[in-house]
């Protein structure tokens, strides 16, 4: 419940630059989506080049498919938003813990996690978009932002090869996981 207003608010904010940039700015205004994206991409980059390649392909595609599916379903299922938020929190916590623990996941597992993150984020955004009437141009802006941010984050993470930087990455993973655990607590309190 604590997380719902933020998600809805993000889709009502206008950049004043048109629907494309409204969509592109969505990630900045929806920290849960942004954090889920970064967590998955950091895990992928931490796991190696091949997993990172799979992640930056699977995530945007799954995001797009889920968004379009949600638009097709329409605003009939807005009550799914809390469950989707809980799934995002679970995914980012899982990815954060894996990075903090220094685990290197196989490419297939990373691709599956990235696809799952894309699906839950896309579904959540699509349901709200169907409710608020956001169009294809807004989604194009969002999808472009997801693609570029995912590529950049994955590239940066993969390039961190020095031991000290790998350790810093693990610290970032622990921070992501910690935020996820706290967010889970807030959701639990809201639904209790």
């Amino acid at each position: 419940m604590f997380l719902l207003p933020g998600a809805a608010q993000a889709h009502l904010v206008s950049s004043g630059l048109g629907p494309f940039y409204d969509g592109a700015l969505h990630l900045l205004l929806s920290p849960l989506d942004l954090l889920a994206l970064l967590a998955v991409v950091v895990l992928a980059g931490h796991s190696g080049r091949a997993p990172a390649r799979w992640a930056v392909i699977a995530l945007p595609i799954a995001w797009a498919v889920a968004w379009l599916g949600a638009m097709w379903i329409g605003a009939a299922a807005p009550e799914a938003a809390p469950a989707l938020d809980a799934l995002k929190i679970g995914l980012l916590t899982l990815a954060g813990v894996a990075v903090a623990a220094g685990l290197r996941a196989p490419a297939l597992v990373v691709a599956a996690i990235a696809a799952a993150a894309g699906i839950v984020c896309g579904l959540g955004g699509g349901l709200v978009a169907a409710d608020t009437g956001a169009g294809a141009v807004a989604f194009a802006g969002l999808w472009t932002a997801v693609l570029i941010l995912g590529l950049l984050a994955a590239a940066v993470t993969v390039s961190l090869e020095r031991p000290a930087l790998r350790i810093a990455l693990r610290v970032v993973g622990s921070w992501i996981a910690a935020v996820g655990v706290l967010a889970a607590g807030w959701v639990l309190q809201g639904f209790a």
Binding site: P31, L35, A177, V179, L182, A183, G185
Partner: protein, 242 residues
């Protein structure tokens, strides 16, 4: 002791800016201005003084409520979370001490402790949000600074299998106490992000301080810092037990 002519005192300023008096004078223009604010500063004319004073009074009445909303909305939760860990000295002492002790222990503790702490702190916060009660939380927090201060002071090099559970235990107390104290209206997720980042940066500050451990003088300074953390911890422990 007589007041030099033309010198303003605090009493003059208060009288000059008293809205009731200013409005009373402004209500009777040309009435001789008796008594006037100008009398208090030894000037002959009053009309030129009232307008600026009125302006000052009006500025005092400027709409301050906007400040109350400074941290609301999207950035509010993040800034609130970012500020929360540094607003309590007990938390600051313990976080910095974790970094310093990690630096004293060297690798891999120097980075393992700051990795473990946020996770367990978040678990403590989760426990608090889920309604799981922990006994003597304030005592646990005070003990964290006390114990960590003593460990730094004594340059105690515990094995990793012992150091991590110690830090993890204290992290749960800190998370339980501080991770759940969010102001009304803040975004929970943004608050959590700010809180975790601030805690991590405090660890980083402690590690940065602890890097002087490689020098002889640095070791002495760190022990001095440890004694200060210990003293702070004992102070908070006294308060928690009193």
């Amino acid at each position: 002791m007589t007041k030099p002519r033309g010198m303003l005192t605090m009493a003059d300023v208060v009288v000059l800016l008293t809205p009731a008096r200013l409005f009373a004078e402004a209500s009777y223009p040309g009435s001789g201005c008796e008594p006037t604010a100008a009398d208090h500063i030894g000037a002959k004319e009053c009309s030129g003084r009232v307008a600026p004073a009125l302006l000052s009074a009006a500025m005092l009445l400027a709409p301050l409520p906007a400040l109350a909303h400074l941290e609301a909305g999207a950035s509010g939760g993040f800034l609130s979370g970012l500020n929360h860990p540094v607003s309590g000295l007990d938390h600051v002492l313990a976080m910095v001490a974790v970094g310093i002790w990690g630096a004293q222990l060297g690798r891999p503790a120097i980075w393992l402790l700051p990795v473990v702490f946020p996770l367990l702190m978040a678990f403590g916060g989760f426990a608090g949000l889920a309604g799981w009660q922990l006994p003597a939380i304030e005592v646990g927090i005070a003990l964290s600074a006390t114990v960590l201060g003593a460990l730094i002071l004594g340059q105690v090099r515990l094995p990793l299998a012992v150091a991590i559970p110690i830090v993890a235990c204290f992290a749960v107390f800190h998370g339980h106490a501080h991770g759940t104290e969010m102001a009304d209206g803040d975004s929970a997720l943004r608050y959590s992000i700010g809180f975790v980042i601030a805690t991590g940066l405090l660890h980083a500050a402690g590690i940065a301080l602890g890097l002087i451990h490689h020098r002889e003088t640095g070791r002495v300074l760190l022990r001095a810092a440890g004694s200060m953390v210990l003293a702070g911890g004992l102070y908070f422990l006294w308060g928690a037990l009193a």
